[in-house]
Symmetry: C2
Subunit: 587 residues, 2 copies
């Protein structure tokens, strides 16, 4: 065990209380049983369990990844089961599930902040209960009372895990092409037959049962995504019999190795017994009900890895001495900590600017989840839901891209040491590399933002985002340089979006969707930095706040000086309706 | 074994013959014994040995990295020894060593192109003989006739390996602070005492002997880098006795795992016997004699990994079907190869633009090595040496950065599959991550370019680079868009360099040296693309050349449209003499 802090509690407190107004939120009836003290206690408990139960086996689970033992069972390293039990025992699986449904009833924002500790400590082990939370929430939203009664309590208290079974070998990003079948039976159940790929937590002995939530087609339904149903398939049936679900293979990954990732065969012996969740052919909508939160969760995981990599490299840079100041070539003088070299400071500040913004963006979106669920007025709820919809592809993709870059810089700060497995930063980098891939790739997020979210409801979502950012700009008199830069960037977003959608050819509109996603993402994050600046000043006074506030000011300055200007050439390219990629015939 | 091509022979032929004029080079007396046929045969042999001997154990050496066996010897996987023997047997260790010194006498350019096959096939195994080549060249340049006679022939024929022992635990980038001592003895030898860190190939049984080239301080010499001497320390002395060099540890890395990387203790039992190579206290100059070539070699390794990752992802994208064209939602129509999706094409084209440029830049620098060694006039030799000096930090750092990005994109093209160890792209990514670290980190290259190379000889080197690029612009009438963009960028390089050096404070001048390195690197690579375009058109006609020429044109267009414009904000930042990093007190 190391003394190394894995996240910054001071930053989380700042984001939750000084920026996102969690204390106001706690005044709402939904959260009446909680106050600042319980929030503090939850964060403290999360840090403690993450540090004591999750972090210690993070490397071990990477080295000895899950494998199939001689008895056919999946073997994981010691500590995983205990970690999950501690997590469930403390009520984190149902952290944001209302108390009347058996959960802890925390605001989603607080729950997400608490969960970040586990992602920072050990993202591989954290995946198991996180998937279970997603499955429980889905069942609570779409299951019958009997289904909820049967499966949700065991999930919340750690007796059952959940999985999401979407992809198939021939259908990854293209869910329209899944072929898994669910045949209706006279008794109202279904028999599921098919193969599912990339199923995290698909088979293990960590909990007594596993409930698979499976996308499948009920024969006779519409073609494509409109014919997809959601079927719950427990590993063990209520009579204790093993269901017809067979582990067909375990994937071996570059990172995220602690999470067993499986190929599952359903129905090798006639058909796995399953129950329809929600409406027939309504499976994709039900699954996507959860997708916003899952995607924000991916972004938060990327951010948590970014922050923890930053903190590890910061600690190294403060203590490792090497070289002397520019011009100081007298070798009889002592070497200085590398944290004093400008290029190392650049790499630290960039990490801070990326990772703390990723965390802030994820918590902002989580705050929108609370708003859409608990705002006093329907209008406010609708606005929050709309803004969350627009922001989701960015909250998923931006941290996945830039907090991976942060981990890359953490390695570089440590130099040769960072490239060895004696330090954890290389694992953060390998783990984080999954995030631009799963839960919708970077390219899928790009099409979602430009092709759907930017134009849905006549562009109302994007307008709301821009108006929200403009409101911040309007409060930023103290930062005229940043306010002006951000306002200019907003004008470019508007103009570029219009230009792209006026192209008259959907291929041309979407050809450089990823560039659009990245440019708009940087604009959003510049806004997040301006928001944080204003919150720091409001709390500490314009020049106060000591090292914490100075760090926020330096990172914001870094982002506005080094990062936001990157978007200029991106908007130029988009405005030109460039067709370089379309015109090239791959050969 | 896969049918997958690991590099493009057509591209190498184009670069060598149609662009770099290797045939002209072969007309020089130094290369009289070679002609196009021997060059072709050498490339073919390199491809064959790389494919048959190096590639097959690339994954195995990654999985079962070198370790210390029960008898204290370093154990490597099967196939490494045979690969090195085949490499040496074919004359590749001395590929560019003149025939009268026992080598193959190839132009350096041709040798480098041939060696790229081995880096693409298995960079871990390739490192062993590559280090030996470096050591042999260093001895040939600075050793006494007796030293050369004793050590170089065994190196060239595979009986001895070489290492470079620079770093120490407390002195990585700061060589001024090494503490290893070399005590002179009455018999003219030295006794070496100290610890060396990050020594690749420092201990193994792959060759009968190993000759360590060690930087050490002879007592009484000047402090700092001016008091460093170069000492040769063989593992076994000529009487067969084991020298006093002990393996103190093996480093475990994220990638490049096939290359054993060691901590070595010299003189645990009184002192390792060594011989001074070159002048007393002249060790750093001797070592840096080789450094230009070593750094270009690192860049070539990065590029080779970039190209091979591109070719692997290209093959995958051509054969993996998923989804349908934009607007084509009818699932009864067949899915299309992902290589037809614009976003996948973008990721392929970006890889091509990065990786082929990295390869081209490395071969251009190699051509400068030949020019500085064999140009008919002293003036031309001096100019080539000067240009090589300026380009070296870019040829090292640019491919190390952008061909790693290429490998990142290769993973993304393969999606979840790319993240598994069932496909080789994740290993390329892990292997390539070393290149921005070793042989001088990214930050060290940045200081080298801005602090030394850009201003040496009154700026003559940078002027020569700019004039060379301008000559290309002057020939680019057929590409007015690119020519104008490149000329504008050159003006910015000039202005920014002047501004930075006029800052009056070396801290401010160098604060953002890495941004300068990256901006100038992108300008240089835009030039490399324009050069390739002109060479393609000269060979094939402005519209001819089929798929090969179209690919070059598309990649050049990608670079000028998507990449070169990134430099605008970088130059803006530099021109502002931004002190964000200097002003932040790390806390």
């Amino acid at each position: 065990m190391t003394e190394q802090r894995i996240l910054s509690r001071a930053d989380l407190d700042f984001l939750l209380h000084d920026w996102l107004g969690v204390d106001d939120l706690l005044g709402r009836p939904e959260f009446a049983e909680h106050d600042r003290d319980t929030v503090d206690a939850v964060l403290e408990l999360a840090e403690q369990i993450a540090t004591e139960r999750f972090a210690p086996h993070n490397r071990a689970a990477d080295v000895a990844e899950p494998h199939v033992g001689p008895d056919g069972h999946v073997v994981v390293v010691d500590g995983v089961r205990e970690a999950i039990a501690a997590f469930a025992g403390a009520g984190f699986i149902g952290a944001s599930v209302p108390a009347e449904q058996g959960g802890t009833g925390l605001p989603f924002t607080v729950a997400r902040a608490a969960l970040a500790w586990f992602q920072a400590a050990n993202i591989g082990t954290a995946s198991y209960p996180f998937l279970t939370t997603g499955a429980a929430n889905l069942l609570l939203a779409h299951g019958t009372p009997e289904q909820i009664e049967a499966w949700v309590p065991p999930m919340l208290d750690g007796r059952a895990s959940g999985t999401m079974c979407l992809s198939e070998p021939q259908a990854g990003s293209s869910l329209a092409d899944i072929t898994t079948r669910a045949e209706p039976q006279p008794d109202g159940t279904y028999r599921v037959v098919g193969t599912k790929m990339w199923i995290s937590g698909g088979e293990h002995e960590l909990t007594p049962n596993i409930v698979h939530l499976v996308l499948a087609k009920i024969p006779g339904g519409p073609a494509g995504v409109k014919g997809i149903s959601l079927i719950a398939v427990p590993r063990f049936l209520s009579d204790g019999a093993r269901n017809d679900v067979v582990l067909a293979g375990v994937n071996h990954k570059m990172g995220y190795r602690g999470t067993v990732n499986t190929l599952l065969n359903f129905g090798e012996s006639g058909g796995a017994v399953g129950w329809l969740v929600g409406a027939e052919h309504g499976g994709l909508a039900a699954m996507f009900h959860m997708m916003n939160e899952a995607r924000v969760g991916v972004g938060m995981g990327a951010a948590a890895l970014g922050v923890t990599g930053y903190l590890h490299s910061l600690e190294y840079a403060r203590t490792r001495t090497q070289g002397r100041p520019v011009g100081g070539r007298d070798v009889t003088t002592p070497m200085i900590p590398i944290a004093e070299h400008p290029d190392v400071k650049r790499m630290l500040l960039a990490q801070k600017a990326y990772a703390e913004a990723g965390m802030a963006l994820g918590l902002y979106c989580s705050r929108l989840v609370d708003e859409k669920d608990t705002a006093p007025s329907d209008d406010d709820r609708a606005r929050a839901a709309l803004l969350l919809d627009v922001l989701t592809p960015i909250a998923k993709s931006w941290p996945s891209q830039w907090c991976l870059t942060a981990n890359d810089l953490a390695i570089q700060v440590l130099g040769g040491s960072g490239y060895t497995r004696d330090f954890p930063v290389e694992q953060f980098y390998r783990d984080n590399r999954l995030n631009p891939i799963h839960e919708g790739t970077h390219g899928i997020q790009a099409i979602d933002l430009l092709g759907r979210k930017a134009v849905m409801r006549g562009g109302a979502g994007l307008e709301l985002l821009l108006a929200t950012i403009r409101a911040t700009v309007g409060r930023a008199d103290a930062y005229p340089e940043y306010a002006a830069a951000l306002e200019s960037a907003l004008v470019r977003v508007e103009k570029t979006t219009t230009t792209l959608h006026a192209a008259g050819d959907p291929d041309v509109t979407l050809a450089n969707a990823s560039v659009y996603l990245e440019a708009v993402g940087h604009v959003v994050v510049a806004w997040i930095w301006l928001e944080q600046l204003l919150a720091v000043d409001a709390r500490d006074g314009a020049d106060g706040g000591g090292a914490f506030a100075e760090g926020k000011r330096a990172a914001a300055r870094y982002f506005f000086r080094f990062e936001l200007p990157r978007t200029g050439p991106q908007f130029d390219l988009l405005d030109s309706l460039d067709t370089t990629t379309l015109d090239w015939t791959v050969s």
